[in-house]
């Protein structure tokens, strides 16, 4: 077990190194100059600026400095936000995205398991049909449409009630998070519902269910103890990739609802060609995803005794 965890961590570190290297070289070859401005700058100032950010040095030297700083956990200074370290920006913005993401995952996971179990329980009756139609909608409508419709829903509700039931945009309280988290989790919820349904229906025919039934175990107990618990396993496996899907979904939701998260920071940084912020955010996100995949694998091994770690 310890050996496995260690191996995975070493692999993870190598992967993060690859991500960092790829990011560095992609960024380095992007046409245009991050220090270019609308304002014309004298050659001397330009030189000074390049010196300050180390852009006057050889590519290999720059790569070395960049890597060395990254190992020490330093992503450098932002190009566009005067003198602010990228670390500080990430430290400020990431918790926002993380809270939103966790809330979305909780909503998606609970909703998906619940709806999936319901559809399997009411197979081919109206609750099943209604939920399946909603699932198809959830899978085929883009998240930005949900986000806009959700926001419009808040506006209309506030207007009809005559007071502010929920804030339309921004960040701060739990009330700001509810609708964005729901919108963010919708796609994943639809996907999980479908998965849960399939997995529930597969298990109905399992030997141990038949045995339990022939022993005369009450239906409710079979459902809770055997069917439901076993059906949840595949749902846990896809939670890892779902975390990635939810972080990407965060781009849109954070933009529509004006939430100061990391996704919005990245989009803004790209629009302003703030190279250090782009690199820092990308490497940080990559490292975070790598870590999440490892964690999910370990959790899965813990709950499913059949999985042996090698």
């Amino acid at each position: 077990m310890t050996r496995y965890v260690l191996m995975r961590l070493i692999q993870g570190v190598i992967t993060v190194w690859f991500i960092a290297t790829a990011t560095f070289f992609v960024m380095h070859n992007i046409p245009g100059n991050p220090l270019q401005n609308e304002k014309a700058v004298s050659e001397q100032v330009q030189k000074k600026l390049e010196e300050k950010y180390g852009l006057d040095k050889n590519v290999v030297v720059q790569y070395g400095i960049y890597m060395w700083n990254m190992i020490r956990g330093d992503f450098g200074l932002s190009f566009k936000q005067e003198e602010r370290p990228v670390n500080k920006i990430i430290a400020e913005r990431f918790p926002v995205s993380a809270i939103l993401g966790v809330l979305a995952i909780v909503i998606a996971g609970m909703g998906g398991v619940l709806w999936g179990a319901l559809t399997a329980l009411y197979r081919n009756r109206w609750p099943d049909v209604v939920i399946i139609i909603l699932v198809i909608l959830g899978i085929s409508v883009p998240s930005f449409v949900f986000a806009t419709v959700g926001q419009l829903g808040i506006v209309v509700a506030n207007r009809m009630l005559g007071f502010e039931l929920l804030p339309v945009a921004g960040w701060g309280t739990i009330w700001h998070m509810l609708v964005p988290a729901l919108v963010l989790g919708l796609g994943t919820m639809a996907f999980l519902t479908r998965l849960m349904r399939t997995s529930m229906l597969e298990i109905v025919n399992a030997d141990y269910i038949r045995t339990a039934r022939s022993k005369g175990v009450p239906v409710a107990q079979i459902f809770a103890k055997h069917q439901f618990r076993n059906a949840i396993l595949p749902v846990v496996t896809v939670l890892g990739p779902s975390i990635a899907a939810i972080t990407t979904g965060g781009f849109v939701v954070e933009n529509v609802f004006a939430i100061p998260g990391l996704g919005r920071t990245f989009v803004e940084a790209v629009q302003q060609s703030d190279y250090t912020v782009i690199m820092g955010t990308t490497v940080f996100y990559g490292a975070f995803l790598v870590l999440m995949v490892i964690v999910v694998d370990l959790v899965y091994a813990l709950i499913d005794p059949r999985v042996r770690l090698q």
Partner: protein, 470 residues
């Protein structure tokens, strides 16, 4: 017992026969697919979408997608197109009357002169005693006691000047005009007179001659304006034409990119699976790395890398021009191919590893089949099933990615429309003109749904093990 005791029997002709002809894998799959109504409906929808994107703009709807008409912006499809024709020269004299006597603080009468139209609304009112001028307001909702009167449209600087002509961007919807009298210092009186006006669509004679096919138009006639079946966008461009162009962009990226990364994935996966050993280990490590890259972030980075910023020319833009495609589509396809191949490579590798151990491959090898025969006859045809299924699921995923990137402004370059960028444009005006968001969103949803259902059907038809339970 003699020989005569034995009688020859008649030969029974009905030898047992197989009840139906044997079917190949693909024949069987085809029969299953055709029996699946949902999958076939989806296939028909997809074919219709392809016709909509690539044939319809040349045959049925040849309107240009980038022609702006700032007089007809954000028109929903259900708008009234009957327009009144007004003379080209249509000046109106200000109305001046004698000062009024009495006690009232707001005009007693406020009326519209002539027909209110989208080119002008003319108001006239009874003068207010002791007024030194009037201010005219316009609102799109009915003003009440505690809501404002709306936008200030102008000020008349004499108590005897009791007319006003509004020519400012009038649309076909109700307006509430209010007139308030002003005192010597320009301070408003406390009372106002409000009137509800519903302007009618109107164009001038010369506009009518250019905008419609009519060749003899008189002032006072009614003409029908050009029909935009799905309305217009915020620059007055025809939505149907833009949706067609957007369909071209979205479907081209959505089909070409998966096709290319499938090919790359198949090559890498089959080489890796077939040769095994060091080659396999190396390629698979690389695959793991590429999978670990944060997809959307790198999509955006690659897009920055491949699209020339500003006027700099590079090989990419030259190649794109040579291909005759526009708006950064090539950059997006290249980025998608570079980032999306690992999934299919892993899948194909797994299949090849499995097939390599099969009895029929062993038999073929023993009979002296060369590598090329093994790959061409056994490996590739037997992996085609899973590849085809993944392709059908990759198309909607790619269309989503494209829409998503265009939505946050990192996709195709304007003015080339894609469904995603059209949604982005539509969102700004969605409360007033929902059709600008509704139609592109609907097209994305229908396309994604159709490909997903077709994929489900194909999976059920091609591979019994992957069959979904629904």
């Amino acid at each position: 017992m003699t020989e005569l005791s034995f009688k020859p029997t008649t030969v029974a002709s009905d030898i047992e026969q197989t009840s139906r002809p044997s079917l190949s894998y693909w024949q069987d799959a085809f029969i299953r697919l055709v029996a699946n109504k949902r999958a076939i409906t989806s296939l028909v929808v997809i074919i219709l979408l392809i016709i909509f994107a690539f044939i319809a703009p040349h045959v049925f709807w040849t309107i240009k997608h980038d022609v702006q008409n700032l007089d007809r912006t954000s028109e929903p499809p259900w708008i009234n197109r009957k327009a009144m024709v007004l003379p080209d020269q249509d000046d109106w004299q200000d109305v001046h009357v004698a000062a009024a006597i009495g006690e009232h603080r707001a005009p007693t009468v406020l009326e519209v002169v002539g027909e209110p139209t989208t080119s002008r609304v003319r108001l006239k009112w009874e003068p207010v005693p002791n007024a030194y001028g009037y201010r005219i307001y316009r609102n799109i909702v009915e003003p009440s006691e505690d809501t404002p009167l709306g936008l200030s449209m102008g000020v008349n600087e004499a108590g005897t000047h009791v007319s006003f002509e509004d020519r400012l961007a009038i649309r076909q919807k109700p307006y509430w005009y209010s007139v308030v009298a002003l005192d010597e210092d320009g301070t408003e009186f406390e009372a106002a007179k409000t009137i509800n006006v519903r302007p009618q669509l109107a164009i001038t004679v010369s506009e009518a001659l250019t905008l419609t096919k009519a060749d003899n138009v008189q002032p006072g006639d009614t003409v029908s304006l050009f029909w935009h079946p799905l309305g217009t966008d915020y620059l007055g461009r025809d939505m149907l034409a833009r949706l067609m162009k957007g369909a071209q962009v979205s479907l081209t990226i959505g089909i070409v990119a998966p096709l290319l990364f499938m090919i790359l994935g198949i090559i890498i996966g089959s080489v890796s699976g077939y040769f095994g050993g060091m080659v396999d280990a190396g390629l698979m490590r690389f695959t793991d790395f590429v999978i670990a890259l944060p997809f959307l972030l790198f999509m955006i980075l690659f897009k920055l890398l491949f699209v020339p910023s500003g006027d700099t020319e590079n090989w990419m833009s030259n190649f794109q021009e040579w291909l005759g495609i526009e708006g950064g589509m090539l950059a997006m396809v290249v980025a998608l191919v570079l980032l999306s191949w690992p999934g299919i490579a892993r899948l194909v590798r797994g299949e090849v590893l499995k097939i390599r151990e099969q009895g029929y491959v062993e038999a073929s090898k023993l009979l002296g089949a060369p590598n090329s025969w093994l790959i061409g006859r056994h490996m590739i045809p037997n992996t085609m099933g899973v590849v085809l299924v993944s392709f059908t699921f990759a198309v909607p995923a790619t269309i989503f990615t494209e829409a998503f990137l265009s939505f946050i402004g990192m996709g195709v370059v304007p003015p080339t429309p894609s469904w995603g960028s059209m949604c982005n444009d539509g969102i700004r005006t969605m409360e007033m003109y929902p059709h600008e968001l509704l139609f592109p969103a609907l097209f994305i949803s229908i396309t994604v749904l159709a490909f997903n259902l077709l994929g489900d059907g194909l999976r059920d038809a091609l591979d019994a093990r992957m069959r979904s339970r629904e």
